[in-house]
Symmetry: C2
Subunit: 301 residues, 2 copies
């Protein structure tokens, strides 16, 4: 029997807490039976938008043949408006808002939740949207390395006023498996590449259409071409801390983002709602295929 | 007649845009008549939680005697789940999610919205929740200066991979007026002090209850006491970029946050829902009093 991999918290103080209140989930160890609620979780999928994470759980239910036409998928975090959470069978779907601080709060509480629930062998995916560099809009990017605004693979965590560097490696085997899944699906183009993670959507991503812009179109093009030379395929705002925190806690992790536009050609999201909606479904189709394949394989073996 | 102060964008590229899509609001200059929808706005109130910002507009409607028992307050950004926006008369209420990147996206689009709507003389408030240092829970803090994790009054904006320092000054006159309002109300204690703005809720704020913690209770106490010596009264996650962007765009700005707990005594939010809900209303009561006073004064003069 293979060894079961636990979720690692690195905090000796947690043992001394009688009740651990997961405040931004409106859950807690004294108020909820976390092992009963979440002990069977093997796949977690996170994304910025609460609507998208609800649609993901409905999609996964149909893919796994677990849907009940009469079923509602209740928001497990209904007591708060900070995050939304849905579950079906071994799959958990959680929203994280926009930006590193927002996903970081969610991941702290999610890692503690999985730890308290005594989950093992959990794989986690971030499904998101991004700006592409030199890619046809609609292309899906599986992240090789998450890099910062200077194209370096690191995340800077400030602790007690001091900056600590954290590694942003993702699971290379999982990334390869996702590329295989895309070939099997043969519905859209999927590439492996670096993902730049920024602190800001406008000035931080060299957009010309924010409230403030102190650089020229030429400056923007030079910056984005330098990013491209460093292997950056797309730009989003959460992957670095996601990679760092998942690695520290022993979660097998992948980042799967669709590109909404080619940033070398523009900044504004002017595609129709229907087109963007179609693009947005691609990461969930890819991850859904992966989960189905693994659950079927497990049943067979 | 006094000079009317416009909202300043600093971006020559905006003039060349035929349509400016405010993507995260699901609004745009071609699809919406922004001057007709927002031209009369004089007060903007922003806060993290969409529920709180809806409750603020209901509260303000009753304070200003503008409520209609049959009225619903529709979410102006109903086409997206990124932010929620409500309006009554000259007051706009907008949610911003958690953390600097999330509020920064919202502020870029809000500043462009106010600019396109040709608004003048706008005052903006952030109403929020925070952790206090050495204050009785429930105390309201009006921010003097927003400081970083090393207690310095600056915000670091990364542009094309380079770090630019921005000033985090807030309007001192507005802060004083809010302290006066609190005296008039005489319902809760309000203090003027520095606010530390962090990138993270757990390790970034020296909490002992995150998924990861590499320091001791003594390290935490030393850090928070050093913050206290530097004039820090409370800790939150949005004030620095809020101060910087409002200053750049000519918005009179104030940060008004209630403290949920005294961080010198603990980390977890264990107070009852009712108590936290009561605390949470205090910033909106203070800002509501200020807005009513100014609108009444304008009517009289």
């Amino acid at each position: 029997m293979p060894i079961e991999l636990p979720i690692l918290v690195h905090n000796p103080h947690l043992d001394g807490l009688k009740d651990d209140v997961l405040y931004h989930f409106s859950l807690g160890t004294e108020t909820h039976d976390l092992p009963a609620m979440f002990g069977d979780v093997k796949f977690v999928c996170v994304g910025g938008s609460p609507w998208r994470m609800k649609s993901f759980i409905e999609y996964i239910a149909s893919v796994l043949g677990m849907e009940d036409p009469k079923a509602e998928y209740p928001n497990i975090c209904a007591g708060t408006d900070r995050y939304a959470m849905y579950k079906i069978g071994p799959v958990l779907s959680v929203s994280h808002g926009m930006g590193i601080p927002s996903i970081s709060i969610m991941l702290h509480e999610l890692i503690k939740l999985l730890h308290h629930a005594r989950c093992t062998d959990v794989t986690i995916f971030r499904i998101g949207t991004s700006g592409g560099i030199g890619l046809e809009p609609g292309t899906v990017v599986v992240t090789k390395q998450s890099v910062d605004a200077n194209f370096l693979p690191k995340f800077e965590q400030v602790i007690l006023g001091k900056t600590v560097m954290r590694n942003t490696d993702l699971d290379p085997g999982l990334a390869q498996e996702l590329l295989e899944c895309s070939k099997e699906l043969n519905q859209f183009d999927t590439q492996l590449g670096n993902t730049m993670c920024t602190m800001d959507f406008y000035e931080g991503q060299a957009r010309l259409d924010g409230a403030f812009c102190s650089y020229t179109e030429e400056d923007k093009q030079e910056y984005l071409h330098n990013a491209q030379k460093a292997g950056v395929c797309n730009i989003e705002m959460e992957s670095s801390v996601f990679a760092a925190m998942c690695k520290m806690s022993g979660l097998r992790a992948a980042v799967v983002c669709v590109t909404f536009l080619d940033r070398l050609k523009g900044d504004q999201l002017t595609s129709s709602h229907d087109i963007l909606n179609n693009y947005q479904q691609r990461p969930q189709i890819l991850v859904g295929h992966y989960i189905k394949k693994h659950l079927t394989h497990k049943k067979d073996s």
